[in-house]
């Protein structure tokens, strides 16, 4: 596999990416964890996102905005992961799953809500997490997901509608 490369100063790039690691590893792991609900996979995805940042470092015009680049990589890798898990389920190949960190006995509303979010399709899930966990405006979500603001709005509306339905059924039923 040979891909055309531009020569670039590796020392600066390495320093920049390891600085990114120190600053953003934890929050990006949390973001991936909220989207996926799998701690081990979340950490692996952030690792990969950081390494991709290394590969694309020369394209980052303003290193101060590298966090946005990194966030985009994390979200896109999470979406790929969700899609792959769906494929694996269809072909009967089950990936090893980590035990959820969440206390199994804490069957409270927040846990129910989070599980409902993780039941959303990949793009809706990403929109919801970026909106309500990362607290990003719709314009930034659209940039990350490379879609229009209108698409983000419609995805959020669909997600809310679906969550309302699921949560009403789940929470009013008492039993999950």
């Amino acid at each position: 596999v040979i891909v055309t490369r531009r020569p670039e100063p590796t020392a600066d790039r390495d320093r920049g990416v390891t600085t990114l690691f120190d600053r953003y590893y934890d929050p990006m792991c949390r973001l991936a964890f909220v989207i996926l609900g799998d701690a081990a996979v979340a950490e692996e995805i952030v690792m990969e996102a950081l390494l991709r940042t290394f590969r694309g470092w020369t394209r980052i015009r303003n290193p101060e905005h590298a966090d946005a680049y990194l966030r985009r990589a994390v979200v896109n890798l999470c979406r790929s992961r969700i899609r792959r898990k769906a494929i694996e389920a269809r072909v009967g190949v089950l990936a090893p799953r980590s035990a959820p960190l969440w206390d199994a006995e804490a069957r409270d509303t927040q846990r129910v809500v989070w599980e409902a979010v993780r039941g959303l399709p990949p793009r809706q899930r990403a929109c919801v997490v970026l909106r309500y966990y990362e607290d990003l405006p719709e314009r930034e979500i659209a940039e990350i997901l490379e879609c229009s603001v209108g698409t983000v709005k419609s995805q959020l509306a669909k997600a809310r509608s679906r969550l309302e339905r699921v949560l009403e059924e789940t929470l009013s039923g008492g039993e999950r």
């Binding site: 490369r5 950490e43 390494l51 590969r55 494929i87 190949v93 989070w114 979010v117």
Partner: protein, 370 residues
């Protein structure tokens, strides 16, 4: 409920994120730095490869010719001249530069066998991971190993025996073949199977990492063979060819019906397909028609390979396996050799035929005995 739901979502997701702390940050950082260094090596290797692209192309042709010269002449006398202990559950194998490389599925290692000295070494090619390698091929100075655990194709530097990066494909990756520079890989897919092709990318994330992209889907994961610029894919009773056009698009030819088609091999003499009905057929790549068919006398239990001298088929089942030698011109079976254990994968090169025994954790070296 809208406002309530908004607040509930924010509270719940923040609680979820707040409950999570990365397991071992210091170790993760060390692992990150190691992988960063490894990827830097890829950059260096790629730069060298790019600068010598023409030379590599020449080497590829020369190597192909060399393999052809090394092919065994027709003979019925076959013998296992050496058995090597390899890792657990050996699968695919590759012969390159006087070495045989074996992918050990169960213990996640690569075994390197030096043909001349007979020395072997088991290599942890993906340190820190728990790979499940299945296929290994050599191309452009790299080994490409499939890993079912991560659904990736892993380029490995044969000098160090270590992975240099990982390339995503679909689940359950299978064959990997090379048509000079492009690399093709088969895997499972929602449709059944897919073929992936490496290509320079400029994706949305700004990443310019090497990436394999799905270029064709099949009813089942296809078996692949390559000759020249053409890749032949066998899946669900159909054989078709794929070719990368100068435009960057992939041309897919109409499928050829081959009932019960399983594995496929290709060379200048034709396209060879073994079938569930104990037969081997030859397809003329020019007319795309089946021009000959012969009875193997035994169901093909494993893979097929071809070199200048013969078409080689691993037939039979565990405990009753055979290496069957077929004359490519007459399509007659001209030799059989019983093999112990569970022979399945096969490769030719370095003056021998090589077969892995999955149940005996062995590699057989098979040579002519006149």
């Amino acid at each position: 409920m809208s406002t309530d739901l908004d607040a509930l979502l924010a509270q719940s997701l923040r609680a979820a994120g707040g409950a999570f702390t990365p397991a071992n940050r210091a170790e993760a950082r060390r692992r990150f730095v190691r992988r960063l260094r490894r990827r830097r090596l890829v950059h260096t290797a790629e730069a060298v490869a790019l600068a010598g692209a023409a030379a590599l192309a020449g080497l590829f042709v020369a190597r192909t010719a060399s393999v052809q010269r090394e092919g065994l002449p027709p003979s019925a006398g076959l013998a296992v001249t050496q058995t090597y202990a390899v890792g657990a559950d050996p699968r695919g194998l590759a012969v390159a530069d006087g070495r045989v490389w074996v992918a050990n599925h169960a213990d996640g290692t690569l075994t390197r066998v030096d043909v001349r000295s007979g020395r072997t070494a088991d290599l942890d090619f993906l340190p820190g991971g728990e790979p499940r390698p299945g296929t290994v091929v050599e191309s452009q100075g790299f080994l490409f190993v499939t890993d079912a655990a991560s659904a990736t194709v892993v380029p490995v530097d044969p000098a160090s025996g270590s992975a240099v990066t990982q390339l995503n494909v679909g689940p359950d990756p299978g064959d990997v073949v090379s048509t000079g520079r492009p690399l093709w890989a088969a895997s499972a897919d929602p449709a059944g199977g897919a073929v992936y092709l490496d290509a320079p990318t400029s994706d949305a994330e700004g990443s310019d990492a090497p990436e394999l992209k799905a270029v064709a889907t099949f009813a089942a994961r296809p078996e692949l063979a390559a000759w020249g610029e053409i890749v032949w894919a066998s899946a669900a009773g159909r054989v078709t060819s794929l070719r990368l056009l100068d435009s960057g698009k992939v041309d897919r030819a109409p499928a050829i019906e081959v009932p019960g088609a399983r594995d496929v091999a290709a060379d200048a003499g034709g396209i060879w397909v073994v079938t569930d009905s104990r037969s081997i057929v030859r397809i003329d790549p020019a007319t795309r028609r089946i021009v000959a068919e012969a009875d193997l006398g035994l169901a093909p239990g494993g893979r097929v390979a071809v070199d200048r001298a013969a078409v080689w088929v691993v037939a039979g089942s565990d405990g009753a396996g055979q290496l069957v030698r077929v004359d490519p011109r007459s399509l007659r079976v001209v030799g059989r050799l019983a093999l112990e254990g569970g022979p399945f994968h096969i490769a030719t090169g370095a003056g021998a035929v090589w077969v892995t025994d999955e149940s005996g954790n062995s590699l057989y070296r098979i040579e002519r005995r006149d």
